[in-house]
Amino acid sequence: MEENKPILELNDIWKVYPNGVVANRGINLKVHEGEIHALLGENGAGKSTLMKILFGLEQPTSGSIHFRGQPIQIHSPHNAISRGIGMVHQHFMLVPSLTVAENVVLGMEPKKGLSVDVEKAFEMVENASKTFGLPVPAAKKVKDISVGMRQRVEIVKTLIRGADLIILDEPTAVLTPQETVELFDALRNLVEMQKTVIFITHKLKEVKQIADRITVLRRGFVVDNALVKDVSERDMSRMMVGRDVELTIEKGEPQVGKELLRLEKLNFTRADGVQAVRDLSFKLRAGEILGIAGVEGNGQTEMVQMITGILSPDEGNVFLEERLISGQFPGQIRPLGMSHIPSDRMTRGCALDTTIEENLVSDRFTSPEFSSMGRIKVRQVTHFAHEMIDRFDIRTDGPKTTIRMLSGGNIQKVVVAREFTAGACVIVADQPTRGIDVAAADFIRRQLVLERDRGVGVLLVSADLTELLEASDRIIVMFHGQAVAHFTRIKDINETILGEYMLGIKKMTPEEMGDL
């Protein structure tokens, strides 16, 4: 294939959010004119942030963008559109009560006097859909057309505004297989007209079908880029989930004790009708780390929320040391011996404008150790915080610093310090090392193993497979809300094997899985 000149070049893009989360760490990306370029990566890998930067919704902290060889800055979506960059979001930005034509011309309506020239608008839309080979029902209201058609309307909308580079954010997530085929035909058609497409996804099959080139992101880095014809699905899966660093956690054989946590046939259907968790059952025993692997969005979040009391299961029960806990509130479950490192530490893990010491005692400030007669024993709290800062290696000016001033890794250490010292018998660690620096992540993993050796049962949910493989004593893989694989001999498996189950390429029978 002849190498076209790059239409878009990103050089060393860094993005640090105001809360200190580093989403992009020196991204380099080259997109050639007239190609379909797939951007591959897990959730949290930094794809969305990168695309937001391209579409002007976020500004990069540093780095440069070249478009058609010119260095540019993209201040706003409006700015992006005027340069010829269009984006089709996962959640469509259409007005349901307006017609397709009205939606397409919104903001650039042809005028007749003061009113919109409806006929002209129709004409424009019809012409455009003919030119680009994307037929749309111009007169119908958006609320009356199918999801696939809405997406097509969105694409027409970007094209009519003169987009040469179109970003599609997980476009097939909402489509039926037939609609997907139609979309792909349309995309091929566009490419023939020298349009360029960036395609964000984590479905490997589709990449193989449609894309010319892939770039794989992981944890904010570009791990690899390649021509699609040179790599297999298996290669891509390896790139996506592969090894970040040589991780070695020293740990002995688990001293497994009695059963602590038991899930019985949990089922949960989300508000949007998707059954997130189906018939999920497993047990967690004292002194083991049970890893849960899965591409995000396969029911892990809902499972954790049902265990910790944020969600109530539709069906099924959760028992903690033989006590029924599902359906209770976090405030009731916590004192029974459950600790939780939430995946979203900014929402449920800490209070940003509150000090470190106050965050450390949020679950125990009424205990006699830290208060008497409603009065907080500030000295004890501070003393305890100093102890935690030393023991968990929290890098800070002191216990009276607010959480907001800390880096992501140190915030997580505060959360970990609180949850590990609560005296719980079960710790649910949901993405405990996501988005934090390597040293902090390593430290937290070691702490997990220490807790396990003390006889705590640890449920480790993680998108980082290396971490799962290194830390876990057993691993369950979830796909579409179900357990599809169960590994008890971690030494015999690797990321590639896990990846095949996570992405639905393989599935174990109940017999193969054995006693979960």
Partner: protein, 383 residues
């Protein structure tokens, strides 16, 4: 002092500086003389007029000029302190609800209804020295708290926004309060609508008889310490702050958040309830408001300036009443309208509450912190 607080201090200082500069420019241009003078002379005149006005504005509350001598202005000083008292108290009340991120803006109604209720106590309760004023204040607190319960209950039962209901309750308090005064306790001998005089035992002791410097400021200071202790040193205050900072996290930590939200409003109402009656007991000796005094609104300004920290509330209250007394003094001695102070207030509030104002400083510091150590990892990670 921690980095974040220091940053806020700078920001407030710069905001005040900009506002004063703005005020100076406005006064300068409004005092620009007309007529056949040369431009240079006009500018010189406008400058001297503005400087004169700002002298009274900035120094008037504490200094008076007799000929060339500058003397301590005891009257202005006492006026300043007395005017600080009610807004300091409402500032504390608002700081409590705002700490919980509850936008209950009902302090105005609470102080009004508190003052009305306590007026009955001040007129009719047995005249026992010392005990009487305490009882009067207690009644005011009860009335204020009771008034705050209403939006609280509506919020928890019907999920109606406390912003709307507490605002509405202010009008209800005003008209209902006036109705009560007019119907039951109006002084028939007075020319305007005022209540009967308070009993002597209900009045606050005075520190200075001539200018009626009452002990309200001591009460307000005591209250400041109390609220500080409540918010920063008790489990109750800790709950309130945690709910305000991150309600999901508070819930997740096992705090009963609806109950905390309700309690914060009631306690705030009790404190706001005292704000009005203290001024009546100390200064006027009877109920005489025909318009709502506006201290509740001032409380919102003060709590905002003080970043909801009880210890900063007195400073913010002293500042606000100082520029107001200064503006009045300026209005007395020059032909500049004292309403200029409203412009300054607005500019300060705008800049202080505008989160983006100078936020780049902060962001830069955070970025530095977050990328430190990350840059070096880049190479090693690709192994």
């Amino acid at each position: 002092m921690k980095k974040g607080q220091l940053f806020e201090l700078y920001r407030t200082g710069i905001a005040i500086g900009i506002a004063l500069l703005l005020g100076y420019l406005i006064v300068f241009f409004t005092s620009f003389p007309e007529g056949a003078l040369s431009l240079g002379e006009k500018i010189a005149q406008a400058f001297s007029a503005t400087n004169e006005a700002f002298k009274y504005f900035l120094l008037g509350p504490v200094i008076k000029w007799r000929g060339d001598a500058a003397l301590f202005n005891d009257r202005g000083f006492i006026q300043w302190i007395n005017e600080t008292v009610p807004i300091m108290i409402t500032g504390l009340a608002v700081a409590i609800v705002f700490s919980a991120k509850i936008f209950n803006i009902g302090a105005e109604g609470q102080l009004f209804i508190g003052a009305v209720g306590a007026t009955f106590a001040a007129v009719h309760f047995p005249a026992i020295p010392v005990l009487h004023p305490i009882l009067v204040i207690a009644v005011a607190m009860l009335c204020g708290a009771g008034w705050a319960v209403i939006p609280g209950v509506i919020k928890s039962r019907l999920k109606a926004s406390e912003l709307v209901t507490s605002l509405m309750m202010n009008y209800v308090a005003f008209f209902f309060g006036l109705f009560l005064i007019k119907t039951f306790i109006r002084d028939q001998t007075a020319g305007s609508l005022v209540s009967e005089k308070f009993q002597d035992t209900a009045l606050l002791p005075l520190l200075n008889e001539r200018y009626k410097w009452h002990i309200g400021i001591l009460i307000a200071i005591g209250l400041t310490i109390f609220v500080w202790f409540l918010m920063k040193r008790t489990t109750w205050g800790y709950r309130v702050r945690l709910v305000g900072d991150n309600i999901h996290f508070a819930h997740f930590s096992g705090i009963k958040t609806p109950s905390v939200v309700f309690q914060a409003q009631v306690v705030s109402g009790a404190i706001a309830g005292m704000a009005g009656i203290i001024e009546l007991m100390g200064y006027h000796g009877r109920f005489l408001w025909l318009v709502s005094p506006g201290y509740g609104w001032d409380g919102i300004i003060i709590a905002t300036l003080a970043r909801n920290n009880p210890l900063y509330v007195p400073i913010a209250a002293l500042f606000l009443s100082y520029i107001r007394v200064g503006a009045k003094t300026m209005g007395r001695y020059t032909d500049i309208a004292p309403e200029i102070v409203a412009i300054l207030q607005a500019a300060i509030i705008l800049l202080v509450t505008a989160e983006a104002f100078l936020a780049k400083w902060k962001q830069r510091a955070i970025e530095k912190e977050a990328t430190r150590g990350e840059m070096t990892l880049e190479g090693g990670e690709k192994a």
